[in-house]
């Protein structure tokens, strides 16, 4: 009996969590344009999606921004983590605290802050401000995912490399980076998903017609949602699901 309640409870929770996504995916295959009724299966919206230049440019922007952000944030975050690890414990705690604040800080504060900063620097809103904003909010996550790997690395490992004649640069590339690679990769994946996922920061730091998927959907929503968005959202959901699976499998493997 208790097993029945357990299952029901779990079913309700997951139902609540996944119902919106399920409805969205189902209706992305809907023939008609109305949102309330089912008019039969069709791939119309997926076809139309590829013909809509506004949506396509938003998708391109989103991925362009995500890729550049990932590369930059991974490099900055990894080097940052290596640097932080060199400090003595007191300074390290301070720097780690400073690193943590953007992570727990609400996005909206960061977003408005970035907007005000760009204004005061008189920057043109567009790709540059958008990408800088994304790098700023993803770097701390990369740092946080690389640091545990660095902590795990015995101090004698880079020493052994230098002992064998490797310069500090060779040691970094041939010993330290390979050792912390799993941390770097999960940091990069995290930066990538966060960047794609983001709306708040993008909304406040973009301009001049540069739209990402989320800002585009937001402005469309005011005009009334087009079912093409259902199709797009379904694609994004599946993409994210795959990315998440890859990440989880990686961490599981790393544990073993």
């Amino acid at each position: 009996m208790s097993k029945f309640w357990q299952r029901l409870y779990m079913g309700l929770i997951f139902g609540f969590l996944y119902a919106p996504i399920a409805v969205l995916i189902v209706f992305s295959f809907n023939e008609g344009k109305t949102r309330g009724s089912w008019d039969g299966f069709s791939l119309t919206w997926y076809q139309q999606l590829w013909q809509d230049s506004e949506i396509l440019s938003a998708v391109t922007n989103t991925f362009l921004v995500a890729i550049i952000t990932t590369i930059a944030a991974t490099i900055i975050g990894t080097l940052g983590a290596i640097g932080i690890e060199q400090y003595r414990s007191k300074q390290k705690t301070l720097i780690l605290g400073l690193n943590q604040i953007p992570v727990i800080n609400p996005d909206i504060v960061m977003a408005v802050g970035l907007m005000v900063l760009y204004r005061s620097l008189d920057l043109d809103f567009g790709y540059l401000t958008l990408i800088l904003g994304h790098i700023a909010f993803t770097v701390p996550y990369v740092v946080l995912s690389v640091l545990p790997k660095l902590k795990q690395m015995p101090r004698s490992l880079p020493e052994a490399a230098m002992d064998l004649g490797a310069t500090p640069m060779q040691t970094l590339w041939q010993v330290i980076i390979p050792y912390i690679r799993p941390g770097i990769i999960s940091g990069a994946l995290m930066a990538f998903t966060l960047s794609i996922d983001d709306f708040v920061i993008s909304f406040f730091t973009t301009g001049n017609g540069v739209e990402t998927i989320s800002t585009m959907v937001f402005s469309m929503a005011r005009r009334g949602i087009n079912p093409k968005i259902n199709a797009l959202s379904a694609i994004i959901f599946v993409t994210m699901l795959v990315l998440m699976l890859i990440m989880n499998i990686r961490t599981e493997r790393a544990k073993r």
Binding site: S156, A160, M162, D163, G165, T167, V175, Y179
Partner: protein, 351 residues
């Protein structure tokens, strides 16, 4: 020939002085052991020679050249680390080849040298293995091959046997001595294990609190410890308070003894050191001292007895067991009585 010279080295971590004005000369091709308890500064000395630690004061010379400020990767020494520190992302071959690849050698030059090194450490055929699938002893050998492939003039070894079990440790000790003699290079070895030090070394340096207590061959250090600290650290000893009245004339345990030491101040307070195996047990009436047996433990080769003589405890090794509470006599030959100036260390007699 002097190969490495440390001149007046001092090193402190924060407010803790680890090495205090230490000077030392290391000969070419010798097996030198730095021996002392943990925290005596032996590993720090090794790290200063290896270039991983900068001394606060003093200089490090290699064949007469000052290398104090030379980074680790430019020094002609290699290290065998305590934890082996093999590169986990590389297989056995690439681990051993690491030093040569860094030098930019070609594959056809590297391969024969890696094979030669693996043969030296008896691990031919392990090239493709992943290093985390090797046993502790095998990892140790690979670390050795990796450190030796650069043909260093000096190999530094930081307690390399700490993680191995007793049997394997003995095997590796013999192996290491063989390799050292085969290659004819200097080994500077750090350990807290006095038995290991006595077995392997050409010369031993006994350290305590960053100060050299004594330098000498294993037999010198065992037979002629310079002070009570060394005597106690190297093997087991009875250390007794005594007074040296004149040359060859000492009092301890409430009796006057004849000994072989001389050149002390009249009535100087001294440490008297007697090895447990140098104490002979006789019947009470024949003894120089009389005591009561407190315990008798079987140790394999011998029995270890604790005997109370007045207020003092004597540790005695004998092949004949005695009963507890038995009254016994003790005899000590004059040349088994070692008299030591209190707190004397290496170099004091020159002043």
């Amino acid at each position: 020939m002097t190969q490495i010279e440390l001149q007046n080295i001092s090193k402190a971590f924060g407010s803790m002085t680890v090495i205090n004005d230490l000077s030392l000369e290391i000969e070419d091709a010798e097996f030198l052991t730095l021996l002392g308890p943990s925290g005596c500064g032996k590993t720090t000395i090794l790290r200063i020679i290896g270039g991983f630690e900068q001394p606060d004061r003093g200089r490090v010379l290699f064949e007469g050249k000052d290398i104090t400020n030379l980074p680790a990767y430019q020094r002609p020494v290699n290290t065998l680390f305590q934890s082996y520190s093999l590169f986990p992302h590389l297989n056995v071959y690439d681990n051993v080849a690491f030093g040569l690849k860094i030098q930019g050698l070609k594959d056809n030059e590297i391969r024969p040298r890696v094979e030669e090194m693996l043969r030296l450490v008896n691990l031919s055929g392990y090239e493709k293995r992943s290093v985390d699938r090797l046993s502790g002893g095998q990892q140790q050998r690979i670390a050795m091959a990796r450190a030796l492939i650069n043909r260093p003039e000096v190999l530094l070894l930081d307690e390399p046997f700490g993680a191995l079990d007793l049997k394997l440790r003995k095997d590796m000790q013999i192996e290491m001595k063989r390799i050292q003699q085969q290659l004819g290079i200097t080994f500077i070895f750090v350990t807290h294990d006095q038995e290991e030090a006595l077995t392997l070394s050409d010369r031993i340096i006994v350290l305590n609190e960053g100060i050299i207590q004594q330098i000498g061959s294993p037999t010198d250090i065992y037979n002629e410890p310079i002070n009570a600290y060394v005597a106690d650290f190297i093997g087991e000893s009875n250390i007794l308070e005594g007074v040296m009245h004149a040359d060859y004339d000492v009092t301890f345990s409430g009796r006057r003894f004849t000994c072989v030491d001389f050149d002390f101040y009249p009535d100087e307070a001294v440490d008297v050191v007697i090895r447990p195996e140098d104490v002979t047990i006789v019947s009470p009436e024949k003894g120089m001292l009389e005591g009561v047996v407190l315990s008798c433990l079987f140790m394999g080769v011998h029995y270890e007895l604790q005997i109370r003589v007045g207020q003092e405890l004597y540790l005695v090794h004998t092949t004949i067991p005695r009963k507890i509470d038995q009254h016994v006599g003790i005899v000590i030959a004059p040349d088994d009585i070692h008299i030591m100036r209190k707190g004397e260390v290496e170099g004091d007699e020159d002043i």
